[in-house]
Symmetry: D4
Subunit: 213 residues, 8 copies
């Protein structure tokens, strides 16, 4: 029952490589999509892919931190346009999902880890380097204060990704999400909680407009 | 007590004209900022400005629908890069706040009104025209389904602005906000509820990267 | 303690075959109800039935995707009146629960999978076929935008079933539920989250009126 | 700015007379739609229409309890198919909005007021009469228990409309809404809080299928 | 660290036998309290006691449905004053916790199971018998409509216990709790979700006043 | 439209004098009920009655603090069984609603004001006097800690009434409500927020059982 | 009814001058407390005092920004120990309530306005001066990021006061509150939303320990 | 990927020993930080450290109740300034986390267990001893009433730590958190749910100011 009806044209239509969210899909469904992609020699990115399932899939390049796997990624285009910044060590898996999604589409991102605002000097020492990028993705949980500070200092595109890190009043990322949305830094936009993939796709939407210009 | 310490350099720093959110500020504070801007011959955009207060301020170009006023706006740069789309008639004030913020910064936006998905033909008839823009701002309340449909069809940057329209389960815009964040269209980012100003600022961040390229 | 007092007359009273929600019931309770039904040669539908428990029950026709089992289902009445539409692959279990509930009551439903609005052409290609049915059940999670689009195009009864698919701002189906309730498409009604069974029962209520007419 | 782009074909498409939610629209917008309808000699229903505004509009048949107005309603088709039931006195405005929407579309509904379950005998005395209708709309606030009782006794279509009546834990209708969704009566579907209009539209969707049969 | 400082006088002070909520306590803590009670030959009721832990405790009379255990319960006082009513099969564990707490304190309760309002005749057939009790405890989840119906028909004390049964909009018992609090039946009071113990203690408070009179 | 169908027998059935919640009812509806009661020479209590409306109603004994009015109250039965305790000055209107409801039914309550736990000595000085009553109603907002302290010291019936006093995290009484429900004092039951009327009705249910004994 | 029972000893007991929250109290109650204090020649601070009411009270020193009034404040003790920092112009009334409460108790606070993190240079320029104080009160709404940055740089006591400024996802201060609680800066504690008075009282508790040392 | 960039200077900057929250960090990350600290002979406190992981780390002094481990703690400074008070047995792990954090920094705290307000005499017997400390940390879940009572009696610093103990309306600690924030006791500040570490750090911030005085 319920064969997957995959939207192979979406990539062409909105310029983002084919990607599948594996959470909520059965092993048979994921394996079927992968087989189909391999037959078409199409690029395919699998996100939220369980490590145990990944091991049972052939020929996939898998990254355990971000739980992403791919076949036929794009060659690196060396744009140097994107920077990904994290507040704390626990935000790394989400940041890595964004990095991998960008790499799959040909954009190596510069990574700046662990510059949460409680240690302000770590951040200020890196701000000029961060601000030189066209797109900055800020990955932060708990109070997500990093997005406001970066948004106030960086002239380019700033995309906030709240993470589900923290406990109690962090409310599984809802607080970080709301704080980024209510940020006093003008023009920061936000993705869903833990959605590193979505932030990367937003960056790709921007880059297309720019590189086609 | 409590004189306003205004951040006149932010405009230069992140490339967005000086703007002040008037909600929560006293008449004296708003009038003081305006006087200061006029003395410096600086551009100034006032948002969420009460019509009654606007009438008492001299020399302001005021728009009642969006409740915005300005002095010394930038000349139009005729980029044609931005489109603002609304789902319903009641979303117009928020869309207009975005339009005015862009105009103040020199970008006339193309406006597409009342293309909510319940009347799908109105939308599909306009989709090609919408998709030609580098940045599309989608303003929608209630179920905010428009953001997902546009996000799936438009290759450029798509920014969702949830509005507080609707009643009951619309929850003052929280449902539209959550629906946009959970959208199945990849790479749509979101602003705070009713934040047309923020969406425009995000668009300006995107355009800078592009026009400087 | 606490023998089950089963309401065997409800089926006769409101015209829906006997059904039992197994979640929250002990194995002894479920087995007892099943034995009782078999003794009476009564039709019985078991929903939310754990696969491990299903294996220990004799003579049950079990479906693992929907986690439903039955004995003595009604023969198919070939009405062709009902269509079930899903937005994404992960919505299949809920759609299948609705389909099985209808089949148990003698109505084979037409299934249309994976027509979420982010790939609008997949949906528009099927809309005429969907619109021909007297009752359309729309199963969708995350932003649930599909219910609004279908509700705006289909003249018959449209029942929305929000699913718990998605993460973060999807809030376990609460966002899909609220979005369907706040939908701009007039006359769409909604069931509880993941309640495929309830949607099927609502469809049966509609069909009775019609087929008796 | 922002002329209203009205969807005059929707009525034809989904078989529900043209209707406009006036909340959130300016007086100029509402007056414009009304003028347009009058010029076309089209039927038009206005909901959530402020009494003060209604007085300034010409030739409108206005009902203050439901805050609805119309021109060119359909003649009564005497179907006798629909019953509207309320739990308490305060639910009357929402019930009346449903009644007026049905009447505008040619269906006079039977009204049963004030049969909340705390006075069970008032309800049981009316249950047989209620159960004879093809569609029963249950309007109830606070605990909304009436929907479950009616849903368990009536074989036809049962549509629940939670109302915003009550205080404290009634939470502006959220409790009634959730209680109806979680109802133990199978096949009851639900509309948004206070959405009498939507419940009537759902009834019309059902009746079309039936009367065309 | 952190020896338990137990309040052995509370029973004497407010007339309720010593009881300990085991959830959140370590095995050593529970065993220590039990040993202490046995040494004093004091009555002791343990609630929310894990079955695996119960097996490792000596000389405890344990009931697996309610997850309660006791030593030295009071002899039955045959008051016949209390009735416990449940809506559905899944509410039995909570009802049983109330029943066991009452029995531990010398009051055998009359149990009426599975009289949820969706099968109204099951309830009405029992209402006169229920109404003869001085205290009626109503245990119900999901929409909790039973509390309102019983509250409207029973002249004595009515205590509602919402249960965490149900899914989706049932929200782990929050909906049942809110619905009981917002009930239209006057003078129904409510305990925490799943708090059968608390309802029994409230009944004991009522009975003391009465039997001492 | 929508005449009120009043349940005049409820008083006889559950032993509580006729009462009407005026919030949400029109002036015509309230006046009609009052006229009807006067014609029947029946007792009638009106709660949540606006002062301006009260002035326009004839022959009503009105209390502005509790916003209650009555005709034909019961004579005082001098039971001395009930005590009402408040935490702070702002809780007085709710306490007064309970007091008036009891007085209308023939029970003068003892009032103990302003014994919130932050000034513990004020409370401990009164605890013995409070504990002598069969029923203690605790009216408290904000953290509602008073209910727990009283519940732990008083052997009789303890009914908590959370009030909507306070700001921010008090959340309009939701925090007081939740804190009372989660109270560590066994057997405290709770009414809806600000529901002094309901607490009084619960006390009346108890007293009937006792005085009939 | 309900005379105020004022706790005149609390000041002596916990070392904070007598203060009364006027919100929720009637004019007669406030006037009575003031008269009583004046008769005793006691210091008295009134908070959340409506300006219109303040005008009708004699001999009160009133501040309209903070809506506080006092009689007989303590002389300034020139400790220089406390600094109050605000993020934005709209946070001033809350900061001023803290400042006034401190002044009433003999502590003039140093005020640092408008150093929200979106303009980081304004803050970093002041950080050394801020860090020299024993107690720093941080008043911030929206994302409340300022508390985290200050908490990470200041060695002394840091108390966060979330404000209700902002709209949409700011949720009336709930987001600022949660963000401060989830802050990555260790040892920052938090008061209720808009509770400048409470923050000042906490500072007084800290200072007592210190000045008594 | 993602090496940890540790902020070794924070301790010096704000005077709190180096501490790491292990939840959300991988074993490799935790082990790396520990190795680094050992190489520097630096003090290090690990919180929320899984017992299984703790066993695999060498030379760590681990406490299973609080799930904390340390190397190189500070010698005890015998200040006797701090008291930690708990409401119930289940609050011990959080209290112990605070105690261990203080001990790691050289401050042995006095512990007062199980003085929840439902057994008021246990608390009042200890209040004088509690009130002699400069800082009192109150650890309480469910209704958290203890914080209000202590806050009203103790003149020194009072820091509330809500715990996640309880079920249903306790909402994982949210109710305790809100109740503490809304407390009627002036000047009580609050940490995140279960944040014993944070409360200890706040106490350390206070003590530094005091001991340096």
């Amino acid at each position: 029952m319920s064969e997957v009806v995959f939207d192979w044209d979406r990539g062409a239509r909105i310029g983002i490589g084919e990607a599948v969210l594996c959470a909520g899909k059965s092993e048979a469904q994921v394996a079927g999509i992968l087989r189909d992609a391999r037959d078409r020699r199409a690029p395919l990115l699998l996100t939220r892919l369980d490590p145990a399932l990944a091991e049972r899939l052939d020929g996939l390049e898998y990254d355990a931190v971000s739980r992403t796997g791919w076949i036929n990624p794009a060659p690196d285009r060396a744009t140097g346009a994107i920077c990904i910044v994290t507040a704390g060590t626990s935000d790394a898996p989400v940041a890595r999902e964004a990095e991998r999604t960008l790499a799959f589409n040909g954009h190596a991102a510069e990574m700046v880890f662990d510059v949460g605002v409680a240690g302000l000097h770590r951040l200020t020492a890196r701000l000029d380097a961060i601000a030189r990028h066209r797109v900055v993705i800020v990955v932060a949980g708990m109070d997500a204060a990093l997005a406001s500070v970066v948004g106030g200092q960086v002239p380019g595109v700033v995309i906030g990704v709240p993470t589900s890190q923290g406990y109690g009043a962090a409310r599984g990322g809802e607080t970080a999400l709301a704080a980024m949305l209510a940020s006093c830094a003008a023009g920061v936009t936000v993705t869903n909680i833990d959605n590193g993939f979505g932030a990367a796709c937003a960056a790709l939407r921007h880059l297309r407009g720019w590189s086609d210009g």
